[in-house]
Amino acid sequence: MSDTNGTKGQETPDSGEGMSHGHVLDLKLPIGWLLSAYGVLLTVYGLLTKKEMYAISLGLNLNLVWGILMIFVGGGFLLAAFLKRRRTTG
């Protein structure tokens, strides 16, 4: 249960029986890994591809820009998962 609830355990006086075993998988991890992997892939692809390919995206290297953005979004999820894990174990 520690993963889903963290420090807010005392907020659940009305929850009753039947919830002793939370699902331990922290969803922030798969989201974080998937999005940052996509981010890295797009960034690298953006760096390797030629400028002509981006005529359709109005001259903007969309893969590079969006890849970097996704590294930040995915990294944010991984960081949040990491901080939560450290808080609940330590």
Partner: protein
């Protein structure tokens, strides 16, 4: 010749998504020890997960493609499906109805009907809902395969089988949790996949001001032209407010087990009540990724040039925009977002189907009182049956040309009257068991009769959409009136049996100590923002 051609990077992105979904499903396998784990995620999930899943369960690919098409066709009035047709109902569910759903510990929507009314009412709802979810799952599957065939040239049968097998694997292993986790991942993929189109589109047409300058009046207003049905939607204000905003919307958001199931998976009653309210905020923003692309399509795609009749179906607007703006790479991401939302739509329907089948049909009429492990097993194997029926349905729905209208049609047959049954059941203690049953039955029949009369030309409306909205309204009214009428002449339930099920007989849930955790406060805020948005785009 397919519209879009993908390359290795796009396929890598698609494969990555499928791999992650199967792995997530597999890693959930070990937690599926009881029926409640499998069907309700062990009632253990935090509000942000159930909230995003609640929203995503409705943010299917068909919904997105259809709404972009609506926006190209009807303009800004498309926001009614969000700011009028969703937010009030979502807030109402969280603030007023969830205490009875979650508080009564029911596992399904039909189970509530059994407790509040009687076995017959539950049976009617469970059977009609089970049929509806399997139809929807098949629709989703077929539409996906058809889209990928037109767009990418993928063969129909292979698309259907691959998607079905992936969904089968992860639902079989992880049950509702798999379904919900996929929906949350889908939520982020949809935004990340479609926002580039919004940015590039706005950049090209000169921002929102550019749209306003280049598109003609009626398409730019949501409410101003609703006085009569002489507007792009072909619906007047009564149809929009009562048909869509009240009946269709409340019927869908508050009684459709597909969405309510997500809230029931929450870890406690506060999280359950916050689920639809958390969902309402991103829901208000969805027009950014559907309405803006629709309007941009009118301005930049030669197929939809306003000077001549459109040369492509509006349903192709989103796909043509992807082709127009997205280079390989981000293109794969956008395709993955669509694939994810198709698969999660199917998974959601399959999970709802196996839950209703196992608890409300199999566990009630076929094998009662078996140990929990038996029902867990039945649920798992029902997943296989549900997927198989979906594949069959996929080939049946081929004959229906306009899938979006078909969906609305199904909703208005079953969901619209149901909301009257719930409204009276939860808020009027005088509603009797048989009042509930006959009201619901007459409501469904009213919808069916109205549909037939409209189809044979005995009733006329300005548009099919107007017919759907009014059909929902009449079905709701028939249910409401008949439930009250029959209740006045049939035996009342003992009020003691209704504690926990009916407003006024149930102690109010304690207000949360901290004001910022109270559903009513956030609900009021959501309503205020929705009103402001409506006024802004008047």
């Amino acid at each position: 010749m397919p519209i879009i051609s993908l390359n290795a990077i796009d396929y890598a992105i698609i494969a990555g998504y499928i791999l992650v979904m199967v792995l997530v499903g597999y890693s959930l396998k070990k937690y599926m020890k009881t029926g409640e784990d499998f069907f309700l995620s062990g009632r253990s999930l935090p509000g942000w997960i159930t909230g995003l899943a609640f929203l995503s369960a409705n943010l299917g690919a068909l919904e997105i493609i259809g709404m972009v098409a609506n926006s190209a066709k009807y303009g800004i009035a498309t926001v009614h499906f969000y700011w009028v047709g969703a937010i009030p109902a979502m807030v109402f569910l969280g603030v007023f109805m969830m205490p009875f759903y979650y508080g009564s510990r029911v596992r399904t929507v039909p189970e509530y009907l059994k407790l509040r009314y009687n076995e017959a009412t539950r049976g009617l709802n469970a059977v009609s809902f089970a049929i509806m979810t399997v139809l929807m799952s098949g629709i989703s599957l077929y539409a996906m395969a058809l889209l990928f065939k037109l767009m990418l040239g993928w063969p129909l049968t292979q698309s259907i089988l691959v998607a079905a097998v992936v969904v089968l694997l992860y639902v079989f292993w992880g049950g509702l949790s798999s379904s919900i986790y996929n929906e949350v991942i889908q939520f982020f993929l949809i935004w990340l996949g479609l926002l580039p189109i919004v940015f590039l589109g706005l950049k090209q047409v000169g921002g929102f001001e550019g749209i306003v300058a280049q598109i003609k009046g009626p398409l730019l207003h949501s409410i101003k032209y609703l006085g009569t049905s002489n507007n792009p939607l072909g619906v007047d204000w009564f149809g929009v407010v009562m048909g869509l905003g009240f009946v269709l919307s409340f019927g869908y958001w508050t009684t459709d087990f597909l969405v309510v199931q997500r809230a029931l998976a929450s870890k406690n009653i506060s999280a359950a009540r916050m689920t639809p309210i958390i969902a309402s905020f991103p829901k208000m923003l969805v027009p950014i990724i559907v309405v803006i692309p629709g309007l941009v399509a009118l301005l930049v795609l030669p197929e939809f040039s306003q000077a001549a009749l459109p040369k492509a179906e509006y349903n192709q607007a989103l796909i043509l925009l992807m082709k127009h703006y997205l280079p390989n790479g981000v293109l794969g991401l956008a395709i993955t977002a669509l694939l994810a939302s198709f698969m999660s739509g199917m998974a959601g329907n399959v999970t709802a189907f196996n839950t209703i089948w196992t608890y409300d049909i199999y566990g009630t009429y076929i094998r009662r009182g078996r140990p929990d492990a038996h029902y867990l097993k039945v649920g798992k194997y029902t997943t296989i049956v549900g997927v198989a029926i979906s594949i069959g349905t996929a080939y049946i729905v081929k004959s229906f040309p306009n899938i979006m209208d078909y969906m609305q049609l199904i909703f208005s047959f079953f969901n619209a009257p149901l909301f009257a049954t719930f409204l009276l059941g939860m808020f009027w203690r005088g509603a009797t068991a048989w009042g509930g049953f006959w009201g619901l039955l007459v409501g469904i029949l009213t919808a069916a009769v109205h549909y037939i009369l409209y189809k044979v030309g005995r009733i006329h409306y300005h548009s099919d959409m107007a017919a759907n909205f009014y059909q929902a309204w009449w079905a709701w009214l028939a249910d409401f009136v008949v439930t009250i009428g029959v209740s006045l002449f049939t035996a009342k339930r003992d009020p003691k049996e209704l504690v926990g099920l009916v407003f006024g007989l149930t102690p109010k849930p304690k207000a949360h100590r901290r004001w910022y955790a109270r559903p009513a406060i956030w609900g009021a805020l959501a309503i205020a923002v929705a009103v402001a948005l409506n006024l802004l785009f008047w």
